[in-house]
Point group: C2
Amino acid sequence: MPQPRAQRRQTTIVDIARVAGVSKSTVSLVLKGSPLVRPETRARVEEAIGQLGYVYNRGAASLRTARTGLVGMVISDLTNPFFAELAVAIEEAIYAHGYVPILANTSEDAARQEQVLRTMREYGVAGVIMSPARRTPSWSLVDFAKAMPLMTIMRRVEGAPLPYVGPDNRAGAASAVRHLVGLGHNDVAFVGGDASMATQRERLAGFRDALLEAGLPCDAAQIYEAAPTRQGGREAIARALASGRRYTAYLAYNDIVAIGATAALSERGVEVGRDVGVVGFDDIAEAAHNNPPLTTVDGRTRALGARAADLLLQVIAGSAPQAVEHIGETRLVVRASCGALARGGEPQRKRA
Amino acid sequence: MPQPRAQRRQTTIVDIARVAGVSKSTVSLVLKGSPLVRPETRARVEEAIGQLGYVYNRGAASLRTARTGLVGMVISDLTNPFFAELAVAIEEAIYAHGYVPILANTSEDAARQEQVLRTMREYGVAGVIMSPARRTPSWSLVDFAKAMPLMTIMRRVEGAPLPYVGPDNRAGAASAVRHLVGLGHNDVAFVGGDASMATQRERLAGFRDALLEAGLPCDAAQIYEAAPTRQGGREAIARALASGRRYTAYLAYNDIVAIGATAALSERGVEVGRDVGVVGFDDIAEAAHNNPPLTTVDGRTRALGARAADLLLQVIAGSAPQAVEHIGETRLVVRASCGALARGGEPQRKRA
DNA sequence: CTGAAAGCGCTTACAG
DNA sequence: CTGAAAGCGCTTACAG
């Protein structure tokens, strides 16, 4: 528990009431901008507030109203730039609705996640918006879901029918592969992530959809599972190259995997965008500044984060069903890494 | 203000007391693990707690004790990977001390920063740890600093004698330039940032120190101010190249500037690490995966964040002076972008 | 070792 | 339009 700290007694509405010559009920009404208060009375109260340097005590109000104005924000890995962008959008939307976010970064640790959910509940959060840690057991969330709305984002927790917001992973991955096929690529590998992640399964499904519809090879050997990180991208490339099969392009699980893959290929003298194509997913800020600039599937991260926060607050307010779901459109952003620009084209945008 | 939400009356210590057959004072003592309670009594109370699914109401406790256990975390730009890493370290340390962080991302907006500080104060935070928005006027913080400890990190606010934690920017930049000089570079430019940022002035001072001590040119024309972003790095390079002066190396304000600079040079056919040297500052995760891997000054971000949180909590507890300050050591991380590895060396680490 | 009582700073019917 | 009163769920001396 926190240690104490000596403090002079703070100014309360009782002090304001005394100075303004009214009751504390009236002060309270002024504070919430009630139209019931006569303008002159309001002016006297506001005068006293300024004079005494009064600071509203939300904790006291919360106890009375049983509403804290706090919302939990549980992020699986804030050092991943994708989730950082998502977190910024969520944070913004939470403040915009008059709420305040309590942050927790779980570093993909489901035990830590349970711990912080418990703490947030003790703090009386109105709800929680979370990107669940990998391998979150659904039973670890059921108790919390009964006590407060739990909005999941980017990752579904199987077996837990929670509200969910995420991009259309399948359509997005398929659009990326179709673009590669259109450029003449005829042997494409999928690198990064693994089947324990719902997102990976969805993106992989889109990858298969497009390959099958083009009549191209699509077997298990083409899938190189690896951590969804830059390092994972490097490792997957090492294995793909060691296999001896000459892929013409790689679809990466996400942008940081694609960036790691690009670095690994460059180190081996393979020039991305000329010798081989690489496409990512997410369109994080650094994708445009990669060398070469990365073609990727824009999942509209900011919009998704804002949407998730909006929906959570609607569920809290009771104006949205407990089981809402939103799947966002994706859009392919063509840059140089797929090889398209080598043919002199301008960057284009396509809807998934 | 938040909207209400219908809820069944929650279980309180009074309910626990009734079921366990004790007074609520005793329940409270059990809750805080007091040794005064007899083991059998404790067991009965804990039994009742489990049975009724009681959840501790921290808000109520806060009102009584005048301590909330909340700490504010105000970040100037969470989409900058450097600050995201910093935020993660801070968040971790805050939880480790039994506190809970309220997050605000100001996007470098001093007005928004003032707004969130006001809100955090109303929520009764014990203190705030903040990377101040650029051009934060010191007067905008004085009132808050009187009401609660304000720990600044990475950026000093001039004119406000606040506790501060940051890296040794001057020594770090000087060590980077000395390394470049040792490799034979004899005309080095500084790219990114501008003089309104204390950090830029400190890093620039180190840049000058090392150039002067080596007897190399050091004039205003060598400094290319630009936004401290990837895009800023690109723009600074465009201007440096357009100047006609043939710099042999660039010291960037930070890693993302260096990454943008690398991309801009590559696009123009200048090979970083062979034709020209580039060195960054911060050692963010993507520095190692840049193409080529970026030589940079490691500011020990995680350690700095943890230290800032530790110090803030000491100030809150009254065990550290109100005006603490900590300047962290830096260390040069040599990778390929400065050209050193082209000569067959192994990556080395040096203390600043 | 346990209980009765007061009080933290608000909000909210209810009177008037 | 304004005030008196009750109460949110805890903690903390103080008795016993």
